[in-house]
């Protein structure tokens, strides 16, 4: 699921936090990656702005892993795309 999006999110985290991309998986928690909650929220916010979407607030607070972030973004992307499809 969401392979391309997963790779994009991992590449973004790798670039901004100087973490080798191969050490980041969907199961990685932000905590394990040394990214605090503000850092995680900031990452998602940067990706939201880039993609022109918004993850609902209540979901944002629950994002603990890279996979959670990908799923949340995928959901709002799909919702945004729905009217056309």
């Amino acid at each position: 699921m969401h392979d391309e999006l997963t790779q994009h999110v991992i590449a973004h985290i790798a670039q901004t936090h100087r973490i080798p991309p191969e050490s980041i998986t969907p199961e990685s928690t932000f905590d394990e990656l040394g990214i605090d909650s503000l850092g995680a929220m900031s990452l998602v916010a940067d990706l939201e702005i880039e993609m022109g979407v918004e993850v609902p607030n209540e979901e944002l607070l629950k994002v603990k892993t890279v996979g959670h972030a990908v799923d949340s973004l995928a959901r709002v992307l799909a919702a945004g795309a729905a009217p056309q499809g």
């Binding site: 670039q15 901004t16 936090h17 100087r18 503000l38 850092g39 929220m41 900031s42 916010a45 940067d46 702005i49 918004e54 607030n57 944002l60």
Partner: protein
Amino acid sequence: MSARRVAVTGVGAISALGADAAGFWASLAAGRSGIGPIQGVDCTGLRFANGAEVRGYDPAAHFERRQSDMMDRFAQLGVVAAREAVAAAGVEWTEELRDSAAVVTGACVGGQASEEQVFIDAYQNNRHRAHPLTVPRVMMNAAASQITMDLGLRGPAFTVSSACSSANHAIGQAFWMVRSGAAELAVAGGSEAPFAFGHLKGWDAIRAVSPDTCRPFSRDRTGMVLGEGGAMLVLEPLEAARARGATVLAELVGFGMSADAHHLTAPSATGAARAMRAALRDAGLAPERVGYVNAHGTGTVANDPMETAAIRAVFGAHADRLAVSATKSMHGHALGAAGALEAVATVLALRHGLLPPTANFTEPDPACDLDVVPNQARRAEVEHAISNSFAFGGLNAVLAFRRGDA
């Protein structure tokens, strides 16, 4: 306890005149202005299009992305200048010294670009949520906080905001803390990055900004030109500096403040004069011993004759023997960083025995009849100098310096 003498042992500056203090000084010495067309903001619809921007600044050259993401441009410029000043001072850090090292920064308008972005997101893009880093980027104390974290300084730290006098007030507070023993070292100065369209609209409306360039003390002056940058000084007890063999660039010997209690934007010569007198009194300095004044010198119709009258009131006949220059003609008016840039200019002028000129000077104004060192830097071994800052809102702050080691 008797008051300690306070040395300036390092300076850092990033400005329209260059990426470091050496570039800043080279431009000042050459009388080269950094004012030019504003590139960072589309100025369509504004009455002015020139500014003194830091050109070619690349955050990645100074910060990891995760660090620069936390900071507005104004805070980054402050950290860059602080790093340079501390490196230049060659401070030998101990844990004890870190615990008593102060950081005092000036800022007038804070994270304008970050603030503008949140307004665009909210009002134009109809986003429901702002970027989570908005507040830490915008807050006025961001530069001070980031400097403490970047350099590991854990003593008194805060930010002073008094418009165009912010940095002089900040340096003055740091000076008094080092002098009194409340801090064993201080990093003090200011930083500012005001180039955001909405903020520029505000300046446009106040009509103090020149449509072309900044010509302080010239008869045909048309206003100030906004600038940006960061400048910091390292202050430490003179004895400690000498004991560790540090180069004493200058001594900071006096600080004076006053309020006009007069008008929000129209300055008062009596208020400015009282701040200069207070600085001289704090330094125990007779007016006749001052050889150079780095003027507030904004190039506005209102400031320059007022400042001339204030200098004449303080220095009497000696005013005709004083060299007075306005370096804002070159680095622009960097608001909360202005006093810090001018403090660095003053320290380096004393050190190099060269007084930076008032650039862009065209013709004398009888209402500004001082020796304003027009267009050409001048060799002069000066023993003492003062640096003036007078703010919107009538808050004045003046620093007095003495030449350091030969």
